[in-house]
Symmetry: C2
């Protein structure tokens, strides 16, 4: 069966039911802390182990799927969503009062950040991170051409508790055929603020944080890294461009250089402050169709996974954060008394 | 500093900033799969290690905080929310256009299900589970008297990946001073369905599931256990009373006996099908003030933690479930070909 998107009628939550993956109880190994072992499909010489690449940079010769690349983007071998649904005409959409299901049309890609198996985001040189950001922009431009796709989610899972089943450092790109509820909710909050005050919510946050200083982690020419006032996770850090812009893919060349620097700097601080911290990086940007520049402002969340989301969080949507954001920022800044 | 509730202005998410807990990077041990070791505060003889109990059943003599109990409820020693805020008058509420913060007034309790350290929810005898459910109802009645409390979240975290830092089997109760967004969203969906169709959403789901049978796990006189159509997690199972009732604490004695039986039966199936599966149990019920009987219908979610919530889920609110709910239900029923 091709993957399907199902909507929970009691909450509006969408679920990708991806049946090409595990199924029986015995298919789930409860690994208690191990990532996949064996030959790594993201290392030089193993390019044949992934589906053919859709993007690569760094090769001096034109030899797709051979060694020599520095950043490589490939379709996920076990995709959650797929672009082609042979049975989608027969299957059609299910729509009754209770249950809604549509074919999970989408794209699921992996961005391998480096051929070096033991590298980390923080160990990359600065130009490598620029290449990663440039590759993401290129994929936005490509994915936008598919009219069925409404949103492109960029993220990085690091460490087993961060959801990374392969240890070789990589980002992921998942394109979905509907604007996700979490995205719409963020758009709604930003629009309401704009309608009430006439200003961009995120520009106001930027201004406040630069004024009060207490939650700043780093500041560069074009970006602010800060622990947000209502950090969901200990040491949560957001990266936000000072220049008001709704869509990540509209980032300028200068901004890419600047972002690469501040990202690398903060990630290196995390890597040295913690013993192998699992984390997620989550891009927040505009839907691919429409103009949101009036009120939205792209940003990136760095979410350290030092706490566990469990029953309380699922029931309420609240988070419990044991570290005051102001103390987290002071500690990440390296303040003497922090 | 007393714990504080902060609201994220970009999403409406509430965070409990609980500063009595960990703070510095070195306070976070990244345990890679270990629960706390040492003397267990939930075993007989160690009652002095917890704050004084607020409920106990099973003792034949009146000796609070001594051995002899079968189910015991105590305030959490490291509470996320606390009832008394000495500084709440001085602190007051923070309300400006950007940032909202209020004292985290609430209650955080632990329900120890059994004095036996190595017992599990599935290894309890049926009457023990009845005692657990009865204790929860008693705590609802007590917590309701505090007018500041708007919602009582009951949940169970099991296993390290399920968020349980102590291995001795227990449930938790967290009472909060606002109706959580997740709860309000569920109420809104149920109300809208009622307004449109004139019927209860959950009663209609029950009817459909009993008709189509494919997602049923177990059925008892008063309850249905089924894998929901849009299961967020593999083998996710909901328990729902056949009798329309909005609030869990209105459960009848007969229903408690029946629920104990079907809960025990399904949990035992999980415990034998999987090798030590981590899970969360999440109660969904009405806010403590107001009458929601017109359209809401309480239920319990059993969420096996066989997959990891990571960057994609945080960015979109989508879930990826690799197991088709119909196949999960067949397997849990023990169908020969499943």
């Amino acid at each position: 069966m091709a993957p399907e998107l199902r909507k929970d009628p009691t909450s509006g939550t969408w679920v990708v039911v991806a049946s090409s993956r595990s199924r029986r109880p015995s298919d789930f190994k409860i690994t208690h802390g191990e990532q996949k072992k064996g030959v790594c499909p993201f290392c030089y010489g193993n390019e044949y182990m992934t589906p053919p690449e859709v993007f690569a940079s760094g090769r001096t010769v034109d030899a797709p799927n051979a060694e020599g690349w520095e950043v490589r983007v490939v379709p996920n071998k076990f995709p959650a969503l797929i672009p082609d649904h042979e049975d989608s005409i027969n299957l059609g959409n299910r729509h009754d009062k209770l249950y809604t299901g549509i074919p999970a049309v989408g794209i699921h890609e992996v961005l391998v950040e480096s051929p070096e198996h033991d590298s980390t985001l923080g160990s990359h040189c600065k130009s490598r991170i620029e290449d990663v950001l440039t590759a993401i922009v290129a994929r936005f431009d490509a994915v936008k051409k598919d009219n069925r796709i409404k949103y492109l989610q960029i993220f990085k899972n690091w460490g087993l508790a961060g959801g990374a089943s392969l240890s070789h450092t990589h980002c992921q790109l998942i394109a979905v055929p509907i604007v996700p509820k979490t995205v719409q909710n963020k758009l709604d909050y930003a629009k309401q603020y704009k309608d009430t005050t006439g200003r961009c919510l995120y520009c106001d946050i930027l201004r406040r944080e630069i004024e009060t200083k207490v939650r700043i982690v780093r500041e560069s020419r074009s970006f602010l890294a800060f622990c947000p006032y209502a950090s969901k996770f200990p040491y949560e850090t957001w990266f936000i461009p000072k220049n008001h812009k709704a869509a990540f893919e509209d980032i300028s060349k200068d901004e890419i250089v600047d972002l690469a620097g501040i990202l690398r700097n903060v990630i290196r601080t995390f890597e040295s402050a913690f013993d192998d911290v699992p984390y997620n990086m989550v891009w927040h940007t505009s839907p691919l169709k429409g103009d949101f520049n009036q009120y939205y402002h792209w940003h990136i969340e760095l979410l350290p996974r030092l706490t566990t989301i469990a029953g309380f969080e699922f029931g309420t949507g609240f988070y419990i954060n044991p570290t005051i954001p102001e103390a987290a920022a002071a500690s990440l800044r390296g303040d003497p008394e922090a």
